[in-house]
């Protein structure tokens, strides 16, 4: 266990260093939710002929930030696997006695950490603009809630990583996931205005809860009753783990399908 932990730390360090060099990516991830939410606010103002309620802006800001994090996490695990296979880096890592899960976990944790960083910056701006300093403590608690909510999402990333092994084209795989998540998770609008079947999809996926919990926490509404469905989401982590193992064993190790 200690060995695994050390390996995880080693990969994490490299991954984070790598990520920090990608300043453009980080800047974009911060800038984009602000840009989109302001634009839709502007459009709303244009259509209504008056400034809409600023709470609505905050609602979308948080939603778009979480969307950004979700897209970032799923596409980065897809890319990680794909590039790893192409550059044969994964092959080396598999050859070293490392549990591949550690590798994927490390890349997901990296993007998760980056996601939390993005949330801290964007969310702080939003909270200060809308609520002033009074809700700051709530905001920091919300960040912790977000961090916990990202754990089941790791499970989904494992599945993305697994399918990338066969599908090969990472964007083609993370794209539909992003589309489904964006639409059904109550990020840019409440899921109640969705057709029923899409609401169900939203409610079984972890992203919806992340957004709802975070908003509720910032507003000070969150209580334990709200959290009742939370433990079930960890099924994703466990399910993701087994699916990943299955794919890794059957498609990489057995068939020598290291990409190329």
């Amino acid at each position: 266990m200690k060995k695994e932990f050390n390996q995880l730390l080693a990969i994490l360090e490299v991954e984070i260093k790598n990520l920090l060099r990608e300043r453009g990516t980080v800047g974009f991830a911060i800038f984009f939710p602000i840009l989109i939410s302001l634009s839709t606010y502007g459009v709303g103002a244009g259509i209504l002929g008056k400034a809409p309620n600023i709470d609505l802006w905050f609602y979308q800001l948080i939603g778009f930030t979480i969307l950004m994090i979700a897209i970032f996490m799923s596409s980065s695990s897809a890319w990680y696997v794909r590039q790893g296979l192409l550059s044969r880096r994964l092959e080396y890592l598999f050859a070293a006695s490392i549990n591949p899960l550690i590798i994927v976990a490390a890349s997901s944790i990296t993007s998760g950490l980056m996601g939390i960083g993005i949330f801290l910056v964007v969310g702080l701006i939003g909270v200060l603009v809308v609520y002033g300093i009074s809700n700051l403590l709530n905001f920091f608690l919300a960040t912790i809630i977000l961090a916990v909510s990202l754990i089941p999402i790791l499970g989904i990333n494992l599945i993305v990583a697994a399918t990338t092994i066969i599908g090969k084209d990472p964007e083609a795989i993370s794209q539909p996931l992003s589309a489904i998540v964006s639409t059904t998770s109550g990020l840019a609008y409440p899921i109640t205005i969705l057709p029923f079947i899409l609401q169900i999809i939203g409610e079984v996926m972890p992203y919806y809860y992340a957004a709802e919990y975070v908003r509720a926490m910032i507003n000070g509404y969150l209580n334990l009753v709200n959290l009742e469905s939370f433990p079930f989401l960890f099924i994703y982590l466990i399910g993701g783990y087994f699916i990943y193992r299955y794919f890794e064993y059957n498609f990489i190790r057995k068939e020598g399908n290291y990409g190329a």
Binding site: T40, L56, T183
Partner: protein, 268 residues
């Protein structure tokens, strides 16, 4: 001489287009991915845009305009990524190979653009069907000949635009960021958000955007809602496209020049 030259260019164009079609259909997973994603994106865009004014969900005219707005969004999106693909072509060494055959880079990018044509066609139709099924937008096209004319103009314009765009971003460190942002700004400049929903003075800002005459024309032809006289709009769109031919030719020459001077692809 001129005839001979154009024959040569024509054969290069068909070569590139054939290559693009082949590659497009070999990328089955992308096709599948698009088919799955598109309906979701359509719903997402609709609801995000009407978030502040949910009463619009009952306004068929607005929903129909919005549907065509999303249609042009899909089209432009596809061509932006076509332009973005130059980055790969350069790192793959394909651009070098193509230059050595004395082929214009704009012609080379046509091969990628043709993929975008298919792509926007397939996704576009899925988008229209989704919007009419879920939101009840009307699929009737107001002026069919003008609609097809404007569609063809747009496809030509954006193929050229993709090559200009490609030349501008190829040396950037993270070109995909610019592509994402542009992807988002361009619909605003094109009238993808139905301009009639805004006060006239705000809507008229669109008349300063060349993209409006190209993309907005598609929406107008389909819905019958115009900001200016349709004939004038058509003429302007043709002029803009012709100008684009020259710009893209100029830029792609410049790109090759700078590649050969600095040993890397860059204009900016």
């Amino acid at each position: 001489m001129v005839l001979n030259l154009s024959k040569k260019v024509f054969s290069k164009i068909t070569t590139e287009i054939e290559r693009g079609i082949k590659l497009y259909f070999r990328n089955g997973i992308w096709l599948l991915s698009d088919i799955i994603s598109t309906p979701f994106w359509v719903i997402f865009l609709f609801l995000t845009i009407v978030f502040y004014a949910q009463y619009l969900l009952k306004d068929v005219n607005a929903l129909t305009s919005l549907m065509w707005g999303i249609f042009i969004f899909i089209l432009m999106n596809s061509f932006i990524w076509a332009g973005n693909s130059i980055v790969q072509s350069v790192t793959n060494g394909i651009v070098d190979g193509v230059i050595l055959t004395n082929t214009n880079i704009t012609i080379h990018l046509l091969g990628r653009s043709i993929m975008s044509v298919f792509d926007s066609f397939i996704s576009g139709i899925i988008a229209l069907l989704t919007a009419s099924y879920i939101f009840g937008s009307s699929l009737l096209i107001h002026n069919l000949p003008l609609f097809f004319a404007s569609l063809i103009i747009a496809l030509i314009f954006y193929s050229l635009f993709a090559s200009v765009y490609a030349a501008l971003i190829v040396s950037l460190r993270s070109p995909w960021i610019v592509s994402n942002v542009l992807n988002f700004i361009l619909p605003f400049l094109s009238g993808a958000i139905p301009p009639q929903l805004f006060p006239k003075s705000v809507a008229n800002i669109l008349l300063f955007s060349p993209f409006y005459y190209i993309s907005g024309q598609i929406v107008s032809a389909a819905t019958g809602i115009y900001l200016i006289n349709p004939t004038i709009m058509l003429i302007i769109s043709i002029i803009i496209t012709v100008v684009m031919v020259f710009i893209s030719n100029f830029i792609s020459k410049k790109l090759i020049q700078s590649m050969s001077k600095e040993g890397k692809a860059s204009l900016i």
